[in-house]
Symmetry: C2
Subunit: 500 residues, 2 copies
C-alpha cells in the first residue's frame, strides 16, 4: 500500500501511476545531459544484449533475424540521435524578451521554454517490437522531454518487452536515476488500458496500432475531466499517384519498385502502399501486368501473429468481394497458418469513389490499382481521400509543375509527400514527419519519428520577471551551452546582454 | 445555390464553409509577403476608422473609451507584429536533411515545413471586442499561417464586429485577395455554432470565453469523424502565492498592487487574480486588512453586458454562501444594473481544500484570500489546483530557492509563472505563453497571445526527394529570404550547399 496524496491505495493502476509521478518529481529537474546519458546507456544495453534478445523476438514475432537486427539498430540510432537532439536543446524553443522599464507601462522580462508534461503512457506496437515498443521512439522522446514513462507491453511479444524493460532498468541504475522513471506493465484487458489512460497522473499517451484501438484511447483521453494529448499513429493506405507521362516511360521500373515496396516485411508497415491510382489506358495496363508478374513470384511469408494474419485474409476477401473489384495477381501460397501471400487487385475509379470500404487499409502485402477515367477523376479522388501518413507521386517535373490543383489536394491529405520513390522506409531524421491528417494519426501536428517527436511530450512555460539566478539554466543570461534562443525576436546562440 | 463537390446545396453553413474552402485554394499558395501585407492593411484600416469605431464599441460593450482605444492599439500591434513574424518565417520550422546516396540504403533528401490547416472558425470574445474578436489574435494568426477565416461574431457586440469585418473586406480588396478569405457570420443559436464546428471543411477553431461554451465546442470537434484542433482559452483563477518572508516586509505594497490588479477593467480579464494564498498569521492579516481598505474605495463600474453582470453577482453569492467563507470588503456599490462592485472574501485552507466550488472562477472583481495552516498546506493546495493560465509567486529570492517542491508544483499548474508582479497585463511578444493546463485552455501546448500562436493553425509536411525547382520557396536551396533553417541538424540562415 502506498500513499496517494492524502489517501492510501491498493489499486494497481494507482500504485503504478503514483510511482511514476513520484519519480517524475526528481527526473523533471535533471539536466539534459543526464537525460541524454540515460538514453545512450539504454542504447548501449540493447546492443550488448546481442543475439539473445534477437532470439526472443524471433520466437515471439516471427520476423526474420535480419529484419529484427535492423530494427534494433534503428532503435539504438533513435535513442542516440534523440539524445543528441535533447542536448542540443532546439526542442525547448527558447524565447527571451528583455525588460523595457522606460516603456509606459513598463515591459517585464519574459522568458519561455518547453517543460515536460509528466508521466507518459506508451503502448507497445505489435509490428515494431523494438523501434515502437518498450524502448522505442515514444519512450525515447518522452525521456528526452523530461517525462517518466509507463510502458504497456504489447501482448504479442511480452518476453521481448520484458527483456528490453530489464535493459532500461539496468541503465537507470547505472545512471543513478530513480528506478521508477520507467515502469513496465502487462495489461491483459481493455479495461486495464483504459484505467491507465484515464488515471489523473497520466499526462499523455503514445500509441502505434489499429484505428479501432487508437480511436478508443483517444476517446477515453478526451472524456477525462482534464483531457490529455494522445499521439496515436493508426496506419494509412499510402496512396500512390501515377501520372501518365512518367508512367508511359517508366512503367517497368515502377512496377518492379512497387512489387518490392508492397511486399516488404510481408506488407506489415504503416507506410505500405495500399492504393495505386493511374489513368486507364495502355501504360496503366502494362504497369499492372508487370507488377502482377513480379507479385506472382513472391513467396508467402509468416505474418506477426495469428490475429494479424487472420485480419489480412478477412479484409482482403472483403475487398475482393466488392463490385467491380478483380484480383489480378497473387503471390506464391504459404504452407503455414500465419503465411500471408501478396495480392494485387484492380477496380475502376467510379466504383472506388462510391465505395468507402475500398479506401480502408488491408494491413499486409495487398494493393489495389484504381483505373481513373481521366485526370479530373484522379483529382476528385485526391480531394476526397481520408488523411494519410504519406502520399507518393510518380511524375515528370513537367507533370508536377502543370498539375497544381492535384498537388495541392494531395499535399492536403498527407504528412509526407514523396516524389518518384516508395513510401516504405521512414528515415529517422529531423526533417521527417510521420503523422498525417486523421485517421492516419490523431494529431497531424506532431511526428512520431525524428527528434521533433520530443515536442509531443512537452509544453511551453513562460517565466515573467524572474531574476537570472532563479531561472532554469537554459533561460539564464549566460548561455554557456550555446543553445539557440530567440532574443528580442533575433535568433542567437550567445548570452543575453542586459540593457544599460 | 453553389456546388459542393459533386452536389449542390442551399444550407447556409455549407455555403459559408465551401466559400471559405474555395478561397483557401488560392490563399494557401500566396507568399508570406502577401499574407503580411493583408494583415498590415487591416491594421491600417482599424486605425483609420478613428473615433467612429470606438463609439460603436462603447455603446455595445460599456467599456470606457480609454480601454477601447488601448485595446484597438493592441489589436493593431498584434496584426503588425504577427505580420513581421509571418515574414520572418521562424514559425515554419524549416528542416532540411540532404541526401546521402553513398549510404546503404541510400538516404533520400527530405525537407519539412509548416503548412496551413485550412479554413479556421474564430469565435468572437465578449470581453475583448477588438483584440480577441473579429480581427483579433486568432484571426491574425490564422491569416499568417495561410488559413482562411470564418468569424462567428459575438452577440454582445454585433455592430462592432460588423464594422471590423467591413474593414477586413476593404483590406482584402485593396490587397487583391479573394473576398472570401474572410467571412463573417452572426449565428443566433448554439446549433448554428455546432454546424460550423462540425462542418467537414472546418479545420480548426479558436475560442475565448467560458468553460461551458469552450468544452462544448471541444466535445463537438472531438466527436467529428475527423476530429479537429480546438484552441479554447476558457479562463482561469490565476492563483497568487504569498510567501511569508516577502509578505512580512512588503504587505502594504502588495495589497495596493493587488487592489489594482483585482479591479482592473472591472475584473473582466482572464488573468484576473481570483485566489490569494498566504500562511495564516499577522502578516497575512495585515495584508488582508490593507487590501480591504483599498477595495472599499473602489467605485463600482459597469460590466460588459447583463449576462456577465448577473453571473458575477450569482457566482459571488454562491462563494460567500459556503461554509467558513467570510466577506471582508466590498467596494462602493453601483447605481446601475450592470454595475459590479469589487469584493474580497477569506476562507481557511482546510475549507478551501474540501470545497471544489471555491476553486472556480468568479468572473469579475472578486478575490478569495485563503489562510493556509502552514507551508505544507500551501504545497498541498498547489499540488491539487486545477490548471491555470498564470500563477504568481510573491517571495524573496531566498524563499524561492528554498521551496523547490512548491515551485515545481506551481509551475506544473500554469502556463505563465510570474514573480513579484501581477497576472493582469498580457504582453504581446514571442516569449509570452497564454494557454495553461486544462481547464484554463483545451491545449496547453499552444498560445493564443504572441506570434507563436501562428503555429496553432499549421501542421508539418515533409517533402521527400523533390527537385529544387519544384519545392516551396522556403525549402529551396538558395534561401534568398535568409530564413532560419536547420540543415543536417545545424541551424543556418544560408543556402543549402549540395554535396559534391
Amino acid at each position: 500500500m502506498i500513499s496517494v496524496g492524502q489517501n492510501e491505495t491498493t489499486d494497481p493502476t494507482d500504485l503504478i501511476m503514483e510511482r511514476s509521478w513520484a519519480a517524475w518529481q526528481d527526473y523533471r529537474l535533471r539536466p539534459l545531459s543526464e537525460r541524454a546519458g540515460l538514453m545512450r546507456e539504454i542504447a548501449r544495453g540493447l546492443d550488448a544484449m546481442g543475439d539473445a534478445l534477437i532470439g526472443i523476438a524471433m520466437r515471439e514475432t516471427h520476423l526474420p533475424e535480419a529484419r529484427l537486427k535492423g530494427e534494433r539498430a534503428r532503435t539504438i540510432f533513435q535513442l542516440n540521435s534523440y539524445a543528441d537532439a535533447c542536448e542540443r536543446g532546439d526542442w525547448m524553443e527558447l524565447r527571451i524578451d528583455t525588460a523595457d522599464l522606460q516603456r509606459n507601462p513598463p515591459k517585464p522580462d519574459i522568458r519561455k521554454m518547453m517543460v515536460p508534461l509528466g508521466p507518459v503512457l506508451v503502448y507497445g506496437a505489435s509490428n515494431f517490437p523494438f523501434a515502437y515498443s518498450t524502448a522505442g521512439g515514444d519512450t525515447a522522446c518522452a525521456l528526452a522531454a523530461g517525462c517518466t514513462v509507463v510502458v504497456k507491453a504489447h501482448p504479442a511479444h511480452p518476453e521481448t518487452s520484458d527483456a528490453v524493460a530489464e535493459c532500461v532498468r539496468t541503465a537507470l541504475v547505472a545512471c543513478g536515476l530513480p528506478i521508477d522513471v520507467f515502469l513496465h506493465v502487462h495489461a491483459q484487458t481493455l479495461e486495464e488500458g483504459k484505467a491507465l489512460v484515464t488515471h489523473p497522473r497520466t499526462r499523455a499517451v503514445g500509441f502505434t496500432g489499429s484505428h479501432t484501438a487508437g480511436r478508443s484511447i483517444y476517446d477515453w483521453a478526451n472524456s477525462r475531466p482534464d483531457p490529455i494529448p494522445v499521439f496515436a499513429e493508426m496506419g494509412s493506405v499510402n496512396p500512390v499517384f501515377l501520372l501518365p507521362e512518367k508512367l508511359a516511360v517508366d512503367a517497368s521500373e515502377i512496377s518492379k519498385m512497387y512489387a518490392g515496396s508492397i511486399t516488404l516485411g510481408v506488407g506489415q508497415f504503416c507506410t505500405n502502399p495500399g492504393l495505386i491510382f493511374g489513368i486507364g489506358g495502355e501504360a496503366l495496363d502494362r504497369f499492372t501486368e508487370e507488377l502482377s508478374q513480379w507479385i506472382r513470384k513472391i513467396p508467402a511469408a509468416p505474418m506477426l501473429h495469428a490475429g494479424i494474419a487472420g485480419a489480412y485474409t478477412t479484409k482482403r476477401a472483403a475487398v475482393l468481394d466488392q463490385s467491380n473489384v478483380a484480383e489480378v495477381a497473387r503471390g506464391l501460397s504459404g504452407t503455414e497458418e500465419l503465411h500471408g501471400s501478396a495480392t494485387i487487385a484492380t477496380v475502376d475509379g467510379d466504383s472506388f469513389l462510391s465505395n468507402p470500404l475500398l479506401h480502408q487499409e488491408v494491413f499486409g502485402p495487398f494493393s489495389l490499382v484504381v483505373r481513373c477515367r481521366d485526370a479530373e477523376q484522379m483529382l476528385r479522388i485526391a480531394e476526397v481521400l481520408e488523411g494519410q501518413l504519406t502520399c507518393t507521386v510518380m511524375g515528370t517535373n513537367d507533370e508536377i509543375a502543370h498539375h497544381p490543383a492535384l498537388m495541392a489536394a494531395i499535399s492536403d491529405r498527407c504528412g509526407r509527400l514523396i516524389l518518384n520513390g516508395v513510401p516504405t522506409g521512414v528515415e529517422v531524421c529531423l526533417s521527417m514527419h510521420h503523422g498525417g491528417p486523421y485517421p492516419s494519426s490523431t494529431d497531424a501536428r506532431f511526428t512520431s519519428v525524428g527528434a521533433d517527436g520530443i515536442k509531443r511530450f512537452s509544453r511551453p512555460l513562460s517565466y515573467q520577471s524572474w531574476p537570472d539566478e532563479l531561472l532554469p539554466d537554459a533561460l539564464k543570461n549566460a548561455n554557456p551551452m550555446g543553445y539557440l534562443r530567440v532574443i528580442n525576436n533575433e535568433p542567437s546562440t550567445g548570452p543575453v546582454v542586459p540593457s544599460a
